[in-house]
């Protein structure tokens, strides 16, 4: 923090001088460095576009679901399902759609890549907006109403600021997830054709295909630098700034100011005219929406009976739609089953079980190391200050970028027994799952009120009793949130984990639902029905786990511990 401007400038000059000298001495290295910077830039632009799209979507969708009860009744279940669909399963149809829409032009591929990243970023952000608005204190809403704050002003002064902490937090999460899918999508093979767009992801993928370990390490290094830069200059200042928008828990304490670097970015153009122009265009829209909604709301409030019948109507309409969806679905599936099944379809149940076993194992291993580490970090101020940033950067290197290294390691470790694909799939799942657990657990234990900790100390709670009575109950909610996210990520990772092509060799597990999906997607031939069936099976398993396992546990936990599950 105390590094002055002068020292920084000196360092920058030294680095540039060093770079110039290096470039003169080794021109080819300079060319490579320039190329790497360029593809890193391309990848970042793709991420940024997808993120902006997600931001607009999340704010609009989340606000609509939270401020309009009737809209929320169907918007939230839809979001729930979208979130459960394995993202990579979106890709083949999206790629086909965009490529054909643009007559095979590369722009179509770019759109497909951006769309895939968008689907990986937007759902949790939309949920974040929804949660922030549904937990908005009632008195703030009432104050806004009493003082006549409506329409656009209400959004600007109340709803939008209230979502900022969750939005920033979820944006950081989304970027981490986004890198994973960027690397997976910049180089993709569907059926007979391979599409590549220049970027860090395809660079690492190509290096992997050649078995060029040095380039792989360089690619991952550049990715880590980009992640680190974004973290330092974008997310850190933003998350400090977002504290200002948090609802107060305790009185007192200074308002967080921007960390040093940010104040210096004030000269950056802020486009007041464009902002005003957009605001002026949006204001009538919001106004019209509210003008239409207000009399309706008033009417509903004064006629409770109408609400009841409207709800019935709503419910019956929903049932009709559901029934028609089910009927078309059944007819469609029947059509699939009536024609001879693809030979591999009979493997689906075994494949699902095998994948489930892999994820359970990865989950247990992740749990095994994250719980103690989180407890240690949360109780040790110095450890947390030193280790958290390191962990954050390590965590944001996507598992997909680590493929080549994971494969190389697996071959070395268990290649002799022919288990390298199994180990690699396990490791990729582990990498995809563990960080969600770790960071949720750290956050959960940090939120343990200080006075509770002090009370535990005063009453001499130590060792196992301290874990049982204080730590474990305190971490339960965040453990659940983390587990749900981790499992979601795990299922998604399977599609790329169980079928890895590296250095001209394909590493595939014996049985796995991810393998089936990847096989149906990437190998030439007509596997449309196999793909559909496998994706369907995967979605069913994910939904069943959410509804039958996680929801009941959450309900019980929130009853028992009286803690808000976010």
């Amino acid at each position: 923090m105390a590094v002055g401007r002068k020292e920084l400038r000196a360092l920058a000059v030294a680095l540039i001088a060093l770079a110039v000298v290096a470039a003169v001495l080794v021109p080819s290295a300079a060319f490579t460095a320039g190329y790497l910077a360029l593809i890193a830039f391309f990848s970042t632009v793709r991420m940024t576009l997808a993120f902006l799209l997600s931001l607009v979507f999340a704010i609009a969708y989340g606000t609509a679901a939270a401020t309009n009860k009737r809209a929320g009744e169907f918007l939230i279940p839809i979001l729930d399902i979208l979130q459960s669909v394995p993202i990579l399963a979106f890709f083949p149809p999206a790629l086909l759609f965009f490529v054909y829409s643009f007559n095979g032009n590369v722009i179509g591929v770019e759109f497909a890549v951006i769309f895939l990243i968008f689907t990986s970023m937007s759902w949790n952000m939309a949920f974040g907006v929804y949660e922030a608005l549904t937990t908005l204190p009632a008195d703030l809403r009432e104050a806004a109403t009493v003082f006549g704050v409506r329409d656009w002003l209400r959004f600007r002064r109340l709803f939008f600021p209230a979502t900022i902490p969750k939005l920033v937090y979820n944006s950081m999460l989304s970027w981490t997830v986004g890198w994973f899918y960027l690397v997976a999508s910049e180089a993709i093979t569907t059926g007979a054709f391979t599409r590549e767009r220049p970027g860090l992801g395809s660079f690492i993928y190509d290096a992997g295909q050649r078995g060029d370990l040095a380039s792989i390490v360089v690619g991952i290094g550049v990715l880590a630098i980009v992640v680190l830069l974004l973290d330092t200059f974008l997310w850190r200042p933003l998350s400090v700034w977002s504290e200002r928008f948090r609802m107060e828990q305790t009185a007192g304490g200074p308002v967080s100011r921007m960390p040093w670097g940010y104040e210096r970015l004030r000269w950056l153009p802020r486009f007041p005219r464009i902002r005003r122009w957009i605001a002026a265009r949006l204001a009538p829209l919001a106004h019209g929406w509210n003008r239409a909604a207000t009399p309706l709301d008033r009417f509903y409030v004064s006629h409770p009976r109408v609400i009841r019948s409207v709800r019935w109507l709503d419910l019956s309409m929903f049932l009709v739609i559901l029934a028609s969806v089910v009927v078309t679905g059944v007819v469609g599936i029947a059509a699939i089953f009536l024609s001879p099944l693809p030979s591999l379809a009979s493997e689906i149940p075994v494949a699902v079980l095998a994948s489930l076993g892999r994820l359970v194992l990865a989950y247990l291993v992740a749990l095994g190391w994250t719980v103690p580490v989180a407890a240690w970090v949360a109780h040790n101020e110095r450890a947390s200050r030193l280790i958290t940033p390191v962990l954050e950067v390590v965590a944001s290197i996507p598992a997909t970028a680590l493929f080549p290294l994971i494969i190389a390691f697996s071959v070395l470790a268990v290649g002799a027994f022919g288990l390298e694909a199994e180990l690699a799939a396990f490791l990729v799942s582990l990498f995809a799952m563990q960080w969600y657990l770790l960071f949720n657990l750290i956050a959960g234990m940090r939120s343990l009120p200080g006075d509770m900790r002090e009370a535990a100390k005063v009453f001499g709670l130590r060792g196992w009793t301290y874990w049982k009575r204080v730590l474990l109950p305190a971490m339960t909610p965040s453990l659940l949130t983390g587990s749900i996210t981790a499992w979601g990520a795990g299922w998604n990772a399977l599609i790329v984990a169980e079928y890895i092509s590296y250095a001209g060799h394909v590493y595939q597990v014996g049985a796995g639902i991810g393998y089936l999906i990847a096989y149906a997607t990437y190998t030439p031939g007509d596997h449309g029905r196999l793909l559909l069936l496998s994706v369907l099976a995967l979605v069913l398993v994910v939904l069943a786990m959410n509804k039958l396992l996680w929801r009941p546990i959450i309900r019980r936990a929130s009853d028992r511990f009286r803690i808000e599950i976010q």
């Binding site: 204190p137 008195d139 703030l140 009432e142 104050a143 806004a144 109403t145 009493v146 003082f147 006549g148 704050v149 409506r150 002003l153 002064r157 109340l158 600021p161 900022i164 200002r244 928008f245 948090r246 609802m247 107060e248 009185a251 007192g252 304490g253 200074p254 308002v255 409030v301 004064s302 409770p304």
Partner: protein, 253 residues
């Protein structure tokens, strides 16, 4: 001091909620009037529906039956002539003191310059000069409620509604603010003209009010409307004062 005409009329108001098929009666047949220049307190034990009643008076909630008329017309939440101070302050944490105070003016499209000067005037009136650019979490509880009061007064209300405004504050701060509210109310150059305050403290009600509306617990019914004719400033040590406190206490318990 009750010489004004009635500005607020509460006419046979009842409120009930349906929960799990059962009907909860919160308020039953409440009728009273608030006159201009009056300081009225509604007291009652917790759960008597007094906050619900206040929310109905400012238009945030609607009675199941009965009417609430402000200046002869049904109340609307957006009406600037009725303003409100919240128990939990309800300040927007992301806005500065000035921005919080200006909120209602901004909503009613008051020009920027007028907004600034009015906000300045009322921030000074509640003794917060110098804290214009502070954020709520940098302020103590008492200062926060001063912002809440300034935010309500800047709308130039005829009737100021307060929902247990001092119950989240320590005793000393609360007493200071009580005296300041009385000073503002007696100042003819500054709003509000009339004050309607909800409280569970009988002592507070007798200290402040011209009239005390005493409510019974579940469902809230009016037990009695008392006219407190003690001269101001009132002294808690005088027998007349605790005579009133005792009488109201015996009414609602």
């Amino acid at each position: 001091m009750t010489d004004g005409h009635p500005i607020l009329e509460i006419d046979h108001v009842s409120r009930s909620y349906a929960e799990n098929g059962k009907e909860f009666r919160v308020l039953e047949d409440i009728s009273f009037q608030v006159h201009d220049r009056d300081f009225t307190c509604i007291v009652g034990p917790s759960g008597c529906g007094k906050s619900t009643l206040l929310r109905e008076i400012v238009g945030l909630d609607r009675p199941t039956s009965g009417r609430i008329l402000f200046d002869g017309e049904p109340v609307r939440a957006e009406d600037t002539r009725v303003s409100m101070v919240f128990q939990s302050f309800a300040l927007f944490p992301w806005l500065t003191v000035t921005q919080n105070v200006q909120l209602g003016l901004e909503a009613h499209k008051v020009p920027e310059e007028e907004r600034q000067s009015k906000a300045k005037k009322y921030i000074e009136a509640v003794g917060l000069a110098g804290f214009e650019n502070a954020y709520p979490r940098e302020l103590s509880g008492g200062m926060k409620q001063r912002v809440g009061i300034a935010r309500a007064l800047v709308m130039d209300p005829l009737l100021l509604c307060m929902d247990e405004p001092f119950s989240a504050l320590d005793a000393l701060t609360a007493q200071n603010l009580r005296d300041e509210i009385l000073a503002l109310w007696t100042n003819p150059d500054l709003p509000p003209s009339a004050v309607l305050m909800v409280t569970h403290s009988i002592d507070e009600a007798v200290y402040l009010a011209d009239r005390v509306v005493a409510l019974s617990a579940r469902p809230g019914r009016i037990v009695k409307v008392e006219q407190i004719d003690l001269p101001r400033p009132r002294n808690r040590k005088e027998p007349e004062f605790y005579g009133w406190v005792d009488e109201i206490y015996s009414l609602i318990v």
